[in-house]
Each structure stands twice: as structure tokens, then as C-alpha cells.
Amino acid sequence: MEVTVQYTGQLAGIAGISEERVSMGGDAVLRDLVEHLCEKHGPAYADLVVNGEGRIRPSTLVILDGEQAIGDSSQLPLENGQTVLLMTPIAGG
């Protein structure tokens, strides 16, 4: 399956892109996607997205097809054609 991953904020700057398409296995969950992306984009990216235990940081918003995923979203199954937006917090005034 293929999902579209989008980035905002500091994460977009570190990834160097605001959007990419990613192919994953048919039974992949969000955690698999995040692990794949952290490996692909390197430690600075990973540090923004996950904490020391490899869990998605509470302040990193995961938006699935325009709606925030709440609670522990790591085991949420991905769907073909889904848009996964990862937002790092911003507070510029």
C-alpha cells in the first residue's frame, strides 16, 4: 500500500520536503511507518518525532486524513491512500 506523508514546522525543514509518498506492507501500522521514516531521514528527524524509547512524542501531532489521532496511535493500522500529517509544535509570534 502507499500512503502520503506530509510535514509542517521544524520537521519539514529537517526532512527537506513537505510531502512524500511511502510504500508499506499491507498490514503496516503507524509505528512501522514512523520507524521507516526515522531510519530514512536520520537522527535529527527521529529526535523530533520520537522520544528515547522510540515512542511518538506527545507533542508531535499525528493527523490522519485531516483528523488528529489521539492517545497511543502507534498501533493504528494504515490504509492505502491515507494522508499522514506529522506536525511539530510551533509558537512563533
Binding site: G9, D47, G66, I70, G92, G93
Partner: protein, 248 residues
Amino acid sequence: MNELADEDRAIYEWQLDVPGFGEKGQAVLRNSTALVSRAGGLGGPLCFSLAAAGIGKLIIAHAGDLRVDDLNRQILMRSGGVDRPRVESIRKTLAAFNPRIEVEVVPENLSKENVKQLVSGADIAFGAAPLFEERFLLNEACVSKGIPLIDCAMFNLEGHVIPILPGTSPCLACLYPETPPHWKRRFPVIGAVSALAANIGAMEGIKALTGLGETQYGKMIHFDTATMSFQKIVIHRNPECTICASIP
């Protein structure tokens, strides 16, 4: 509630024509007080737009002296005010623009010591500080008082606005249960991006006060001027939120 004077009608004539706003909306604004946390690149144009719309009173908290590198975005400031308190420029500019509104400037940023008192006099608050610590303090005080908070933020070419109605829509601590560890005080900014976030925030505030249109509670309004894309993201209350979960 104070009625509109003839001079109000003359100044605001063109917006009295806005369907759903009218004299009633104008009178509500005239009798409303807004607290704005920092009047820099974002809070400045926000104050300008609220002043133009005829808000009754602005309470503006902003510490420090004006620096020359503030002037690419802080449009309430004046170049003659460099090295002088920012609140001085803020007060002068707003007084020259609309002397009919009341402006209270506070030469301090929001802190544990002053936040409760500042929020106590407000009907609505706008968060535009460059630090999450100040935004969280304002969020907590607004939830405690039960008044709307319009949180407005930007970074680089993007921005977002989150209208918050305590007990109804997610608060800032619902979204960010911890202080984001990577946020830095210095951020890339073009003033027009800040002003765009500011004016989306000003409209959300005007709607929240007057009942005009639909205030976007429960949504994050996000935009990216690099691609001129806008989207409304559905956000949720956190049942374990330390700030607002106890409100049914």
C-alpha cells in the same frame, strides 16, 4: 451595555453593513475587553485589526525595549522607538489610529505572578507569545475563567490558529501535554506570515464575541504560504488533560 454613539456609527459604517454583524455585533465589540499576550509580529497586527473593528478595550502585555531587528514584522512599533519600551510604541500607534478604544499596556510578559489578574479583566484572550511556557500559562488561566482563547502561531512560511472554548473544545494542553522540547525562541519569520495568522485569529475572536459566522472551535486552522494551502484539522480533547479534563 453601552449603546453606540453617532461617532461609532460613522467610523464603523461599512462593517455595520456586514450581514449578521450590524449594530448588535458592533455594540458587543464596543463592550468587550481582549487580552493580547505579546504584540510583536503576530500580536501587533492582531491588535491593529481588533482596534480597527472597534473592540472596547485592549489589554496588551509585552515586555522589553524595541530592537531594530523587530521592525521587519512588529507593525505596531515605530522606528523612532528603538531602544525604548515596546509598550510605548504600542500605545502611541494605537492611540493615533483609533483613540476611541481603551488601551492598557503592561510592560511585562505573562508570568505565574500576573496571568490571573490580567485574564480576570478580559472577555477573550489571544495567545501570540514566542514561548510555549507563556502560551500554557494563558491557556490555564482562560480555562480556569472559562473564557475563549484564540491561540495563534507561526513558523517560517506557515501558521495556525486554534480557537479554544474551555469545556467544549480541546485546550492547548490537550494538544501538547508536555512543553515541546525542540521549540526555540528564535524562529524564521516574514511579517506578512505573522499578520496572516493574526488576522485569521482576529476574525475568530470577533466571531467568538459577536456570534457572527462559525467560530472554528475543535479545529486547527493551518496554512502554508509556500504553497498557499489552507486546511482545517479536526482536533480532540484529551480525556487525561491536566488542565481541562475536569470540566465536563
